[in-house]
């Protein structure tokens, strides 16, 4: 009994630790506090809304209701696996290695971390939504009784599964390579969420009802499916479902303890060197001096820096998606459907340059101590533009050809590509100016939910929307006629783009050199 009391006290300690971490994280930062209040409000709204919506399932026929329940329960389990992986490191209670030095038994640790991960607005919100399953599916007192047990077990299943995965991967997540891979994988997840949208847009012969019932049938025998079925059944079969589910939860909990025990004594490998890189032969073909040095560095960064890879990857894939959707909406709209996606891609690629120094971050001092005039800064920007053009010009060319072929006239590729290249030039010129006027810190650890350091979110948003707005306005005279079908205007696009890019660099060089210390400070905020 004494031991149980000790466990309970230790578990409470973990819960208090988690609460204290949440509070400590908010101290003295008004924007974070406001963000937290919003997040709590959002959690409450999601919880109540989710509960109500889930409850409304009752109005559907029992089979459909059951299938919806199964899908929702499965989605929650998957969400609990994916989301903590994306934001790993935000929550110190999640990293067992920080607790390795305390005299805790594995059992205390497991219970404590379980309780700690159930603490917080979003875990509680998901518990409430899951409880909506009882309102939506249960029939009769037996159903409610079994349902409550099922919801608790389902919640435990979410937590334990998420714990097993994060703990098993915690070693990899702490290493540099692991985080690099995960950063790029995050984009994959975001894109996957677009898949249903794409499928629907493609006008596939999808009968929603049939899709739902077949999905439900498949998922019926997974643990979350068992939970949903138990609620709907409410009888002996439901009890059997619950017994199996409880077994699965217990098995996962045991697995978690094993993994945890191993993770605690496995050394942190994050600082043991990675492999070597090949020396680049491209350098030989680049311009001499400062300009070539910057181009070489930027090309390496586009390849090796996960944030760079993510940005390029997103730009290309998003334009791909737009390309397909544009071409599937009823009537063909001529040159627009070839030039439109190409210009959009140019814009998306160009936005990257709105905060050109952000990706250098605190290492920008190396440039700052070397630059002795506005001319040096201009050369730096020119190098960045050239590096971007080296990648973007062929990419935009390929997108233009693909879009023109999809739109049904290969010749449209020429005006489309010319316009896109011109637009890219305009975006680069505008980006050079925004980079020196409104620079901000990019967080080191990329996650899917934030693009700037805490407190600079508004600045980041302002910078890119300002950049887009000005780019759009400046590019309008050459882009609009082409989009409306006046193809010859495309001939003017590239010279115009080069001119704007040159002007932007000159202005940025003049304004930016005196601002170098401020730029350095703005891009090296602690994250």
């Amino acid at each position: 009994m004494a031991r149980l009391g000790g466990d309970a006290a230790m578990t409470m300690l973990f819960v208090r630790l988690k609460l204290r971490l949440i509070r400590g994280n908010l101290r003295g930062d008004l924007i974070k506090q406001a963000g937290f209040v919003l997040s709590v409000l959002a959690a409450v709204v999601c919880a109540l809304g989710g509960f109500a919506l889930f409850g409304l399932v009752r109005l559907a026929d029992p089979d459909t209701a059951l299938n919806v329940g199964i899908v929702v329960f499965t989605a929650f389990t998957v969400g609990w696996i994916v989301v903590p992986l994306m934001i790993f490191g935000v929550d110190e209670t999640l990293d067992p290695s920080r607790l390795a030095l305390f005299p805790l038994t594995t059992r205390q640790l497991a219970l404590g971390m379980f309780a700690a991960s159930a603490t917080g607005p979003w875990p509680l919100a998901s518990l409430v939504v899951l409880a909506g399953g009882v309102a939506g599916l249960a029939g009769g007192a037996g159903g409610v009784l079994i349902g409550l047990a099922a919801v608790v077990l389902q919640f435990a299943l979410c937590l334990v599964t998420s714990r097993v995965i994060t703990t098993a991967l915690s070693g990899a997540l702490r290493s540099r390579r692991g985080r690099d891979v995960l950063a790029v994988a995050a984009v994959g997840v975001v894109l996957l969420s677009q898949l249903p949208n794409l499928l629907l847009n493609q006008g596939l012969p999808t009968d929603l009802g049939a899709l739902l019932s077949s999905t439900g049938e498949v998922l019926r025998w997974t643990p979350p499916g068992l939970a949903a079925h138990a609620i709907a059944d409410g009888g002996l079969v439901g009890v059997a479902d619950l017994v199996v589910l409880a077994g699965v939860v217990a098995l996962l909990a045991w697995l978690w303890i094993v993994v945890l025990r191993r993770a605690l004594v496995t050394p942190d490998v994050s600082n043991q060197g990675g492999g070597t890189v090949r020396r680049s032969w491209i350098d030989r073909f680049l311009p001499k001096g400062q300009l070539g040095g910057v181009v070489a560095k930027e090309l390496k960064y586009a390849r090796r820096e996960p944030r760079g890879r993510v940005a390029w990857f997103t730009a290309v894939v998003v334009s791909g998606i737009i390309m397909f959707t544009l071409n599937n909406e009823a009537a063909p709209v001529g040159l627009f459907s070839a030039a439109g996606p190409a210009c959009l891609a140019a814009l998306l690629i160009g936005v990257q340059s709105c905060n050109a120094f952000g990706i250098d971050g605190r290492s920008l001092w190396m440039n700052a101590v070397a630059f002795s005039s506005g001319r040096d800064l201009r050369t730096d920007l020119a190098g960045r533009h050239l590096a971007m053009a080296v990648i973007a010009v062929p990419v935009l060319g390929v997108i233009s050809v693909a879009a023109a072929l999809l739109a049904g006239n290969a010749a449209w590729a020429v005006p489309a590509a010319l316009t896109a290249w011109g637009l890219l030039g305009v975006a680069l010129g505008v980006g050079a100016v925004t980079s020196v006027v409104v620079p901000y810190t990019l967080p080191e650890r990329l996650n899917a939910f934030s693009g700037a350091a805490p407190g600079q979110g508004a600045l980041a948003f302002g910078s890119s929307s300002l950049g887009l707005l000005v780019t759009g306005t400046l590019a309008l005279p050459v882009v609009l006629p082409v989009l409306l079908g006046v193809a010859w205007v495309a001939l003017l696009a590239v010279p115009y783009g080069l001119l704007v890019a040159w002007g932007g660099r000159s202005m940025a060089g003049m304004v930016g050199f005196a601002r170098l210390p401020s730029i350095l400070a703005a891009v090296s905020r602690p994250v």
Binding site: R176, G273, T276, K288, A296, K297, R304, G361, R362, V369
Partner: protein, 256 residues
């Protein structure tokens, strides 16, 4: 005495807090100068302002007679910097970092490669020259940072805590290189907590406390008859009282 660095009334405040409150630092040319002081004394802020990375709120800075903030062209090519915190271009390999640094300063590629190879050899980084800097240890980062700071053969070198977290072997390499460098008449100014190290290496010392310079001059004058550590503790007025309290600490108590 020819001065490599002279500041007058250097001043910087962050909000309400005065980080540097009127610093008149003088470092003679060719000296190996140590800037010492407790945490928060303003050493890093001072060095950042001198090297043009942080704009001062007041005062002037001259390096070899040229004003850092009004005449950067005549200053920046002649100084080398290794700031604190060691953020380098993490996704370049050590060798690529040196090549980038050289090309950024307009040194021809062939010459840069020659210097980089020599520096890598001296710094004992040949084996890891093709590894990404992000995977380097602290000692390796300080060494590659110093190599990048030396690549363009600056006349004055500013190093912020160059020996912090560096293993003895790497520290030895760093001091050897720096000694050779000052013997040729170039100037090194570095900040440090390590009094023994400063005493061993430096011929010129400046002591900072709470944003002011409380003593500066040749090492022998600043420390007088004492060791530098004793002189330093007297100067910053911080003789500890480690005798009070802590009655439970030690073998008399039980661990719990």
């Amino acid at each position: 005495m020819v001065e490599a660095v002279r500041t007058q009334g250097l001043f910087k405040r962050f909000g309400q807090q005065v980080a540097v409150g009127g610093v008149d630092l003088v470092v003679p040319k060719g000296s190996f100068a140590g800037l010492v002081g407790p945490n928060g004394a303003g050493k890093t802020t001072t060095l950042s302002m001198i090297t043009g990375l942080l704009r001062p709120d007041g005062g002037t800075i001259e390096i070899n007679g040229h004003n850092v903030w009004t005449d950067p062209v005549n200053v920046k090519a002649h100084i080398g910097v290794l700031p604190e915190g060691l953020r380098l271009f993490e996704r370049l390999s050590g060798r690529e970092l040196l090549l980038y640094s050289g090309r950024l300063r307009g040194i021809p590629l062939d010459e840069t490669e020659r210097r980089a190879d020599e520096l890598l050899r001296v710094m004992d980084l040949v084996e890891s020259q093709d590894k990404l800097v992000i995977d380097y240890s602290t000692g390796m980062r300080k060494k590659i940072g110093l190599a990048a700071a030396l690549l363009h053969n600056p006349g004055v070198l500013f190093l912020d805590e160059p020996f912090e977290g560096v293993d003895p072997v790497s520290a030895n390499t760093l001091t050897d290189v720096l000694r050779r460098y000052t013997e040729s008449g170039s100037t090194v100014i570095f900040s440090s907590h390590g009094m023994d190290l400063v005493e061993r290496l430096c011929d010129w010392v400046a002591v900072m406390s709470r944003g002011h310079i409380v003593a500066q001059g040749p090492l022998s004058e600043v420390r007088g008859e004492q060791t530098l550590n004793e002189a330093f503790l007297d100067l910053v007025g911080a003789r500890g009282n480690g005798d009070e309290g802590l009655s439970w600490l030690g073998s008399a108590g039980t661990p719990r």
